[in-house]
Symmetry: C2
Subunit: 292 residues, 2 copies
């Protein structure tokens, strides 16, 4: 049931992403190909799933906000394209496929990322079933989360921390930006779009913060004890690159405990929700136990 | 009078840009420095000036829309940072100063561009004195103009045209995207924000299209007959790089005639406006006669 809903919604998102690409009169075919290549190369579609699940938790309206959900996936995809660039993480593979710049070249990869980020904001304005005031608030929420105070800021901390020991405070700030901010924006946007009151929005925000933390700690754990075949990427890369992680700054056991604590806090935050938030509860428990 | 207004408004824009940067809690100081470096490194501030001048032409409300004007300058600035990257035009200098990546490194330059583009959309949502419906329409207008169907698309055509002869149709499409789209969005956004009726919006759109054309042809002419000291960059770079331009595809005289025709059409488009559009008339005439 939980996995089926995830799967069927991920398919809805993919259809919607493709529909938006097809509607965009891209001036240059190679740019359009590069955008489509990364946007439709799989992935868990976690951020759009979270946006819809948060709207569901408020009033079951998740699928009404497929457009906003797709927009946030475009932002995530652009960030992966730019993070993989030679000047950044210099990765040749992503989810077992060649990275965007390996296929299309660096210049086109930069532009494809730029175009997807821009398209995300355009697409956001096309979300129906919602007042302009609320939609504008969501554009702002996502803008703040994706920019210098959030995702891009976190990536910048990551850059500046290369080959350096960092402390726990810096590690947390980096992840709050790099991955946490967009998770939180996805969940809060879903809640805001669904018209959540202050109490529900606050509860979902606490869920989101702990979800992001559990997700990141689990990522760090999997880089130590994960299975390369399941993960689709080599393990041990954090240690190899001398990266500070939740595991290196504490221990494997402590990291596991921290992840479990975060899951508990995430689930607790939803205590005043009923079955309509069950997906969110299952999702955070599932992610901390995942093997990829 | 005309130059004074331009100058004083450019200063207003610069103050507003800095205020928005200061309000953005950037997670990483080096990223903040890189954003500020390019955003406040001078320039004609043409796009924000155009946005405000279009609002003036409608009802004298130009300075009410300083926030939206600043947002469009952030988009222009991000595009310069990314265009200058080694993978793109590989430029070491811009307006006589080192380019962003020469000072901060490629990775930070990419992120600074990403952060400025994202900040632009956030800042747009903060424009006051306007209904949410209209503001959302402006976010969409600027999103379309800045993305794959506009500015990024035009840059992609430019990339694909490197060391290639292109025809006049491709040249026009490239410039419509690369520079024309954002000029047009600036002018149309100013008009829409000021509440222009369909007739005025249409007239200003025609002005904008011819403004963009006149601007680009003049750029191509200056690359042949300009003065390096005034321009602040070497001339002859188009010929050296085998670039097709309005001059190479026609002749210097024909290009000058095309630019003058465009100025005439731009001015004609404003015939039903009075003195409130005088700035726009003077601006297009000035730009085609400029020497930098």
């Amino acid at each position: 049931m939980f996995k089926n809903l995830w799967q069927s919604r991920a398919e809805l998102v993919e259809k919607n992403l493709l529909a938006h690409l097809r509607k965009t009169p891209t001036l240059e075919p190679r740019l359009a190909q590069a955008m489509e290549y990364s946007l439709l190369s799989g992935g868990k579609r976690l951020r759009p799933i979270l946006l819809m699940a948060a709207a569901d938790a408020v009033n079951g309206s998740g699928e009404k906000f497929l457009t906003a959900a797709s927009a946030i996936e475009m932002i995530h995809t652009y960030s992966l394209i730019h993070d993989d660039l030679p000047a950044m993480d210099n990765d040749d593979y992503r989810r077992g496929k060649l990275t965007n710049h390996k296929v299309f070249g660096e210049a086109t990869a930069i532009l494809a990322g730029d175009a997807l980020l821009t398209l995300a904001f355009e697409v956001l304005t096309r979300q129906e079933n919602i007042s302009a005031e609320i939609l504008l608030a969501v554009v702002r929420e996502i803008g703040i989360a994706a920019g210098a105070a959030g995702m891009v800021g976190g990536q910048s901390i990551d850059l500046e921390s290369e080959n350096k020991q960092i402390d726990m405070a810096t590690l947390k700030k980096m992840h709050l930006g790099k991955t946490g901010a967009l998770f939180k924006a996805a969940i809060r946007s879903g809640a805001i779009l669904a018209g959540a009151d202050a109490e529900k929005l606050n509860a979902l925000t606490i869920y989101a913060e702990n979800f992001g933390l559990a997700f990141q700690i689990t990522d760090d754990i999997l880089d130590v004890i994960g299975d390369e075949k399941n993960l689709g990427k080599p393990i041990g890369s954090d240690a190899k690159n001398n990266k500070s992680t939740y595991v290196t700054l504490t221990s494997l056991d402590t990291a596991k405990n921290l992840a479990n604590d975060a899951v508990k806090l995430a689930v607790d935050a939803l205590k005043n929700f009923g079955g309509e938030a069950e997906f969110l509860r299952e999702l955070v428990k599932y992610l901390v136990g995942r093997n990829k």
